[in-house]
C-alpha cells in the first residue's frame, strides 16, 4: 500500500520505469509458503526482473530431472494405455485446416475477438478516445496477443511434455506422453502459421507466462512438472482456447481451436490420472501442502497478471499507467469470461487430484474461485463433450 502511495506521487516517467519491478516484488512477497517462494523466486527474478524472455536471444534453461527407464515394459496403467490408443486414433494433420480462408484481422464482420471484448468506456474515462478503426485494430492486437501467448505456451508445453515423458515412472504414461509431444509440436505449427501468415504479428512472451514455464522446466521434481504443465498450463490453455473458440467469428481460427481443444482435453485427463494417486498416497503432509500452495500461487499468477501488458506497451505506455491498464483489462467483459472459463476447467481438476483440501479451500473462497468446485474434472470429459458444451453455451 505504501509503495502504491509513493508511486502515485512520482513523476509519470519515473513511475513508468519502476512500476513493473514493484509489481514483481509484490507478486513474490504475496507468497506465504516459504518453500514455494524458494522454488519460484529464481524464476520470478529471471522472468519479471531480468525479462529473460524478451532479451532477443534464445533462452537456455537447464533441466534437473531424472530420466526413468524401465527395461521390463510393464502394462502398468490401463487408463493411460486407453488414452494412448485414443490419441493415436485422433491424430490430425495441421496442413488439412482450411488455410485457403483469407483472414483480415481488422474486418469487423469477421472479428478475431468480439468488439465488446475490451471496455472502451473505461478507456474513454482515462482520456483515450479511439475511432472505430482504432478499436478494430486494438481488438485485432489483443487477439494476436492472446494467440502469441498460446504459441509461446505451446512451445513450453512441447519441451515440458518431452521432459515429463522422460521422468514419468509409468510405462503406459511414457507411450501416451510420446503422442502428447507430437500434439504439442503440431499446436506450435498451426498457431505459428496462423500468426505468421494470417495475422502477420507476433508478440513477445508475457513475463508471467515465462515465470511459470521457467519454474516447471527447471524444477527437478517430476510431479511438479506434471502439476505445472498438465494441470495448470494445459488447464489454462483449455479454458483460454475454449473462450476464444466460443467468441471468435473467424472460421479458420474456430476450426483450428476446435482441433486443438480435442487434443488438450486428453492432455489434462492424463495429468489428472497420473497425479491423483501420487498426491494422495505417496507424499508427506508438508510435500502435499507445498503442492497445494504452489498450485494456488500459479492460479493467482494466471488470474491476476495475465493482462496483455505487451499490448499496453505497444499502444498506451506513454498515455496511461500500467495500473490503469491492469484495472481496465481485468474489468473488461472479455477477460472476465476468459477467467471464468479458465477456472471452471482448472478448479475441478485440482479437486480431483486432491489439491483442494480444507486447509486451502478458504484461500480459493477468498479469491472467489470456489464456485467452480463442483464442475466435471478432465477424466470425466472427452474432447467431443467439451466442444459440444462450448457450442451449446
Amino acid at each position: 500500500m505504501l509503495t502504491n502511495k509513493v508511486l502515485e506521487n512520482l513523476p509519470f516517467s519515473i513511475r513508468r520505469r519502476l512500476e513493473p519491478y514493484i509489481e514483481a516484488v509484490q507478486v513474490m512477497t504475496e507468497t506465504s509458503n516459504p518453500k514455494v517462494l524458494r522454488a519460484m523466486a529464481p524464476s520470478g527474478i529471471r522472468g519479471l526482473i531480468l525479462q529473460r524472455g524478451k532479451q532477443g536471444v534464445p533462452t537456455k534453461m537447464p533441466s534437473h530431472h531424472e530420466t526413468h527407464f524401465d527395461w521390463t515394459y510393464p502394462n502398468d496403467q490401463p487408463e493411460m494405455r486407453e488414452l494412448y490408443t485414443r490419441a493415436k486414433e485422433q491424430q490430425w494433420n495441421g496442413e488439412d485446416l482450411p488455410w485457403d480462408i483469407d483472414v483480415d484481422p481488422e474486418n469487423p464482420e469477421v472479428p478475431i475477438i468480439p468488439p465488446e471484448f475490451m471496455s472502451y468506456d473505461e478507456l474513454r474515462g482515462m482520456g483515450i478516445k479511439l475511432t472505430e478503426l482504432e478499436q478494430h485494430r486494438l481488438n485485432a492486437s489483443v487477439g494476436a496477443w492472446m494467440l502469441s501467448q498460446f504459441l509461446h505456451g505451446e512451445q513450453g508445453a512441447l519441451f515440458a511434455a518431452a521432459q515429463v515423458t522422460e521422468a514419468v515412472q509409468f510405462f503406459d504414461g511414457k507411450l501416451y506422453g510420446s503422442t502428447q509431444v507430437v500434439d504439442e509440436g503440431r499446436h506450435v505449427e498451426v498457431f505459428h502459421r496462423y500468426l505468421d501468415t494470417k495475422l502477420n504479428k507476433l508478440y513477445q512472451i508475457n513475463d508471467n507466462l515465462f515465470v511459470i514455464i521457467d519454474a516447471l522446466i527447471q524444477d527437478s521434481r517430476w510431479d511438479l512438472k506434471f502439476l505445472g504443465m498438465q494441470i495448470m498450463v494445459e488447464g489454462l490453455a483449455l479454458g483460454a482456447f475454449g473462450t476464444l473458440y466460443q467468441m471468435t467469428k473467424e472460421p479458420l481460427l474456430k476450426e483450428l481451436l476446435k482441433k486443438v481443444i480435442q487434443d488438450e482435453a486428453r492432455h489434462v485427463h492424463y495429468g489428472v490420472i497420473a497425479l491423483r494417486d501420487h498426491f494422495q498416497n505417496e507424499l508427506s503432509e508438508s510435500e502435499q501442502r507445498e503442492r497445494e500452495d504452489w498450485a494456488f500461487e500459479v492460479a493467482l499468477l494466471m488470474r491476476n497478471r495475465f493482462l496483455s501488458y505487451e499490448v499496453y506497451e505497444e499502444w498506451f505506455e506513454h498515455k496511461i499507467t500500467r495500473k490503469q491498464w491492469a484495472h481496465m483489462v481485468s474489468h473488461s467483459p472479455g477477460f472476465e469470461i476468459f477467467r471464468q472459463v479458465m477456472f471452471q476447467r482448472l478448479v475441478p481438476n485440482l479437486r480431483e487430484i486432491g489439491l483442494l483440501s480444507d486447509r486451502i479451500k478458504p484461500h480459493y473462497e477468498r479469491v472467489g474461485l470456489m464456485q467452480y468446485f463442483d464442475g466435471r474434472s478432465a477424466d470425466h470429459l472427452s474432447g467431443d463433450e467439451l466442444i459440444a458444451e462450448l457450442d451449446a453455451a
Partner: protein, 470 residues
C-alpha cells in the same frame, strides 16, 4: 573462389580486442597490427609458413568483431554474456525508461523465400445442375441450369460460364454464353453448337441430359450492358452462328427493360435450318414491332430468299448496314460476336465508317487448344506474389498456371473464367519472365503496362507479381 574465408579468432586476437576496448581509440591501429605481427611470428616459430597463393589465405577477423570473451572458458563466457544482457535489460528499463519491444521482429518473406508450397489441386470450379435439355437445331442444344441447391444462376446479360468437361480422360474447358434474358423467373441456359472436330461441343450435344451435373466457373466477362428503363438507345448487334448466344441475352434483356430502346440484329448463318433461336426471334419481332429489326443473312439461302446473302464479309456487312438504313450518328452502340473472319470484317467496316472503338463491344472465344505460347518453364519456378501488403512465395510446377499454384498454396486470388477471357485475374508483373497464352482478353495497352493474366500465365523464370487493389 573462396572469397570469405576467415581465420577464427584466437586468444591473441581476444587479448588485443580487450586491450583495444580498454585503451583510447588511437591505440587501436597499433594493437591491430601488433596482434597480426605476433600471430605471424608465432606461426613461423611453429613451422607454419604463410600460404603462397593469395586466394587461399584466410583473412583475419577484424579487431572490432573479435569477442574478448573468447579468452574465457566457454561456460564462463556464456554466463558473462547472460549477465551482460541482464544488466543491459535492467539498465535500459530503469535508467533510460526503455521497454523491450512488445512485438517480435519477424523478417518479411524476402524475394525468393518460399512460404507456401502447393499441396492440393485447387477447387476452382463448382457444380451446377442440368434441369432441362432442349434441341434448338440439328446441331445445337440448349442446356438449362440451376445452382446445385436449385437457386437460379446470377449473371449479367452477355456473360459466359467456363464449363469443364471430361472427354476421354482429358479435362477440357470451354466458354459458353448464357443465352436467356437476364430477368427474374426466366430459366437460365447456355446453348452449345456442334463444331467440326469440337470435342466438347460434340460430347455435350450427344450425351448431356436432364439430371446431369456440370462443373463450371463464372459467370464472367465484360461483353455486357447495364439496362436502365429511362434510356432510349439504338443498338446494332451483329452475330454469326453460335455468336448469337450472348447477343440473344443482351437484346432480350435490353428490349424488356428499356421500353424506348431499339435493336437492329444482323445475323449470319449457313442455311435457314441452321438459325439458332429462329422461332424465338420471330416471336419477339412480332411482340416488339419496330423496336426489333432482324436481318438474316444466309450463306446458302433457300429458293425465293429475299434477304441478305453470303458470308458476313466486309462487303456483305457494308451492304446490309446500308440496306437497313443504318447511319452512324455517333450514339449507336455495336455488339459483335461470331467467328474470327466475321469479327474482323465488321471491325474493318465500322472503322471505315468512323465508329469510335469505345462504342464497339466484341466477344471472341478461342478454344484453349488453339492458343499458343503457354507452356512456361520446364522446371519448378518461384513466383513471389505481393498482395495486401504481404508477400508470398509460390512454387509453380511445370505446366501449372500461376493461378493454380497460388490457389493450391492457400492464397486467395482473384479469378473468374480461368481461361483468359474475362480479365478478373489481371495482375501486374514486377520482374521476371512470364509467358501468357495468346490470344487473351488483355488490351494492347494493358500488355504494355505490364499486366498479365494469372489463369493463363506461366513463369519462365523466377518472377514477381502484384495483385492490385487488394
Amino acid at each position: 573462389m573462396e572469397g570469405d574465408r576467415r581465420r577464427p579468432p584466437g586468444k591473441l586476437d581476444a587479448a588485443a580486442s580487450l586491450a583495444a576496448r580498454a585503451l583510447p581509440s588511437f591505440c587501436t591501429p597499433f594493437l591491430d597490427q601488433a596482434r597480426l605481427d605476433a600471430r605471424m611470428l608465432l606461426d613461423r616459430a611453429g613451422g607454419k609458413t604463410p600460404a603462397p597463393v593469395i586466394e587461399r589465405l584466410p583473412s583475419p577477423t577484424p579487431l572490432d568483431e573479435v569477442d574478448p570473451l573468447v579468452l574465457l572458458p566457454r561456460r564462463l563466457a556464456d554466463k558473462v554474456r547472460t549477465a551482460h544482457r541482464d544488466i543491459a535489460m535492467l539498465g535500459g528499463r530503469l535508467i533510460f525508461g526503455k521497454t523491450p519491444a512488445p512485438l517480435i521482429e519477424r523478417p518479411r518473406p524476402a524475394p525468393g523465400a518460399v512460404v507456401s508450397l502447393a499441396r492440393k489441386a485447387p477447387q476452382m470450379a463448382r457444380t451446377v445442375k442440368v434441369v432441362d435439355v432442349v434441341r434448338e437445331t440439328a446441331d445445337a442444344v440448349s442446356i438449362y441450369l440451376t445452382e446445385e441447391d436449385g437457386s437460379p444462376i446470377e449473371f449479367k446479360p452477355g456473360q459466359f460460364l467456363s464449363v469443364d468437361v471430361n472427354v476421354d480422360g482429358h479435362k477440357l474447358r470451354r466458354a459458353y454464353s448464357l443465352a436467356n434474358a437476364c430477368l427474374p423467373g426466366v430459366p437460365v441456359h447456355i446453348t452449345v453448337k456442334r463444331m467440326a472436330d469440337g470435342r466438347v461441343s460434340n460430347h455435350l450435344n450427344d450425351t448431356i441430359q436432364a439430371g446431369d451435373t456440370l462443373s463450371v466457373l463464372g459467370p464472367s466477362g465484360n461483353f455486357t450492358v447495364e439496362p436502365r428503363s429511362v434510356n432510349e438507345r439504338h443498338f446494332v448487334m451483329l452475330a454469326g452462328g453460335s455468336g448469337i448466344t450472348p447477343i440473344m441475352s443482351l437484346l432480350e434483356t435490353v428490349l424488356h427493360q428499356e421500353k424506348r430502346s431499339k435493336v437492329t440484329l444482323i445475323y449470319g448463318n449457313r442455311g435457314w435450318d441452321d438459325i439458332i433461336f429462329r422461332e424465338r426471334l420471330a416471336r419477339l419481332s412480332v411482340e416488339l414491332g419496330e423496336r426489333l429489326v432482324i436481318d438474316h443473312v444466309l450463306e446458302k439461302p433457300p429458293e425465293a430468299w429475299s434477304g441478305g446473302e453470303g458470308l458476313l464479309s466486309d462487303d456483305v456487312v457494308l451492304e446490309r448496314l446500308d440496306a437497313l438504313g443504318i447511319e452512324d450518328d455517333g450514339m449507336l452502340r455495336y455488339f459483335v460476336c461470331g467467328p474470327t473472319p466475321m469479327m474482323e470484317a465488321v471491325h474493318e467496316v465500322l472503322k471505315r465508317r468512323g465508329v469510335d472503338a469505345a462504342r464497339i463491344a466484341e466477344e471472341r472465344f478461342t478454344r484453349p487448344e488453339d492458343r499458343h505460347g503457354g507452356l512456361g518453364s520446364d522446371k519448378i519456378e518461384l513466383v513471389v506474389i505481393s498482395k495486401s501488403g504481404s508477400e508470398h512465395g509460390v512454387q509453380v510446377a511445370p505446366g501449372q498456371t500461376i493461378l493454380e499454384a497460388a490457389l493450391a498454396a492457400g492464397l486467395d486470388m482473384p479469378f473468374s473464367c480461368a481461361m483468359g477471357g474475362c480479365g478478373a485475374c489481371r495482375v501486374r508483373q514486377r520482374s521476371g519472365d512470364i509467358q501468357v497464352e495468346e490470344p487473351n482478353c488483355l488490351s494492347r495497352s494493358e500488355k504494355e503496362r505490364g499486366y498479365i493474366l494469372t489463369c493463363v500465365g506461366r513463369p519462365l523464370a523466377q518472377s514477381r507479381i502484384e495483385v492490385e487493389g487488394s
